[in-house]
Symmetry: C2
């Protein structure tokens, strides 16, 4: 039987139709992010917009991501770490007849309880991608609006820490006084030199609120070109995240870091790790999200 799989996050829904023999029959990205949905709107948009567009009426569906939060369709709960990822498939929540949602993960984080929702599905997909990923210690870093640092042992999630680096970058660029520092457009967002300056300014990652003001100070002093300020800010924030969190990873500090996510963003993280002498590997975030949904669907039978 065919199935409709959806990675439904804060900013969009990516949905695939998978045929009985495992082929992808259809894919579409919908601008129906959970952040923009009204209360109770998810069910109607899914039935009235998503299913018809994919010719998937009546198909069983499996969804993961923020759609399972209290702001989404139905609260799909959390399973507690440490946890073997095959438990996820046994903990689905039914949002409507034939529509199931993947639970999030919860653990004791750096400064209180921590949660993820959506990344657990990516981890499942990442894990099945190569058998070696399921043995020994692996440190998986998933950059994004809310980056996740996940400590794994033999395919089990021991715990994780979330860093709001991407959100801080977006807020400071869009609304803060640092936005006045930017030159026209974001043309130089890929300025590696300015990014590296930011990495250095991140120091040990402490006193971030003070280091951030160096964007303004350097522009005023003529030490940073306005069209390099976005890249500098990116380097500073990613550098502070890496400098602040990597030393806290205990026995995982010896391992290479597995970066999972958007290729361009992961390349910037790889650059930050490289400056610290830490090797990285890369896996595409969208590919592992689909692989994870397929695997959870397979396990859920």
């Amino acid at each position: 039987v065919a199935v409709l799989l959806g990675d439904w996050g804060t900013s969009s829904l990516r949905a695939w139709v998978i045929g009985p023999d495992g082929d992808v029959l259809a894919f579409r990205r919908f601008p129906l992010g959970v952040g923009a949905l009204g209360p109770g709107e998810a069910a109607a948009r899914f039935e009235d917009d998503v299913r018809p567009a994919l010719e998937a009426r009546g198909m069983p569906a499996l969804l993961s991501g923020m759609i399972g939060s209290n702001l989404g369709w139905a609260a799909a709960g959390y399973v507690d770490c440490p946890i073997s990822l095959d438990v996820i498939a046994k903990s689905l929540t039914s949002a409507a007849p034939g529509v199931r949602i993947v639970p999030g993960l919860r653990c004791a984080g750096l400064a209180g309880p921590d949660v993820m929702r959506g990344e657990e599905t990516q981890l499942v997909g990442w894990l099945v991608g190569e058998p070696a990923r399921g043995s020994g210690r692996r440190l998986v870093c998933l950059p994004g609006t809310h980056a996740k640092w996940v400590r794994m042992v033999d395919g089990r999630v021991e715990g994780f820490i979330t860093a709001m680096t991407g959100e801080l970058y977006a807020l400071l660029n869009a609304h803060g006084t640092l936005r006045f520092s930017h030159g026209p457009g974001d043309a130089a967002v890929n300025d590696a030199e300015a990014f590296d300056q930011g990495l250095e300014a991140a120091g040990d990652g402490g006193a971030l609120a003070a280091r951030l003001f160096s964007v303004r100070g350097r522009i005023v002093a003529g030490e940073l070109a306005p069209n390099g300020s976005a890249a500098y800010l990116s380097g500073l924030l990613i550098g502070a995240e890496v400098a602040g969190l990597h030393p806290l990873m205990g026995a995982w500090t010896d391992a290479p870091v597995d970066l999972v996510g958007d290729a361009a963003l992961c390349a910037w993280y790889a650059r930050a790790f490289d400056k610290r002498g830490v090797a990285t590997r890369f896996a595409d975030g969208e590919a592992v999200a689909l692989a994870g949904l397929r695997e959870i669907w397979r396990l859920a039978g």
Copy 2:
């Protein structure tokens, strides 16, 4: 002769008319923040709105704050630290006939060049408030959108560091995903217990982007009431600033901290310093701004 003194910052202009014998003849706050002024608008608003409202046509005027930035009326430049504060009165910029603007200060900060504009005038006013302030080492902390940590010796500014703590608080409350954590209104913004929880979550001030996510994690786990999340966030950000910067103050770590600014905000900072065993003293920010403008006017002759 009477004079018009103005503390013209990003969000508002506070203006006083001082009579020939030093009395305050008039005061008014104008919603003419530099952040909301169009290019070239400052001069017209000052002549057409401010002067008539204060019956101050033709009076000489002295202004300080962001009005002296490249976003304001005229760029008033910066004087470099270390600097004796009486130099400021010799470095005024003429924005128009009879209108002078106070320069900012510049120094080597934590992660590059640092600047202030407006606080230098508060420091002048603070310094003349008590003779003892002009002798020996003093660590002056001016909380606000961009908090300043100023190291002074014998009335001279040795250097300072800016922390964007207030701006991060405003951005995260207004635009970020953490705003979803808030309960109705900001009723419990003065929740001392939640503030103290935030102080503890700040730890050593490192990995701030990760610690910030604990707002969301604790709400989800039921460990923090939604109407306490703003106070918790405030405690976390102020705690991270104090934990990150105070240990960097070298010989100034032994001194009590002089807090200068808004009374309510300074009380929260005092609480954060107190938890670290650091004593504080308080001076009102608006009062020292006026005192500083008067002193600079007097010295400029």
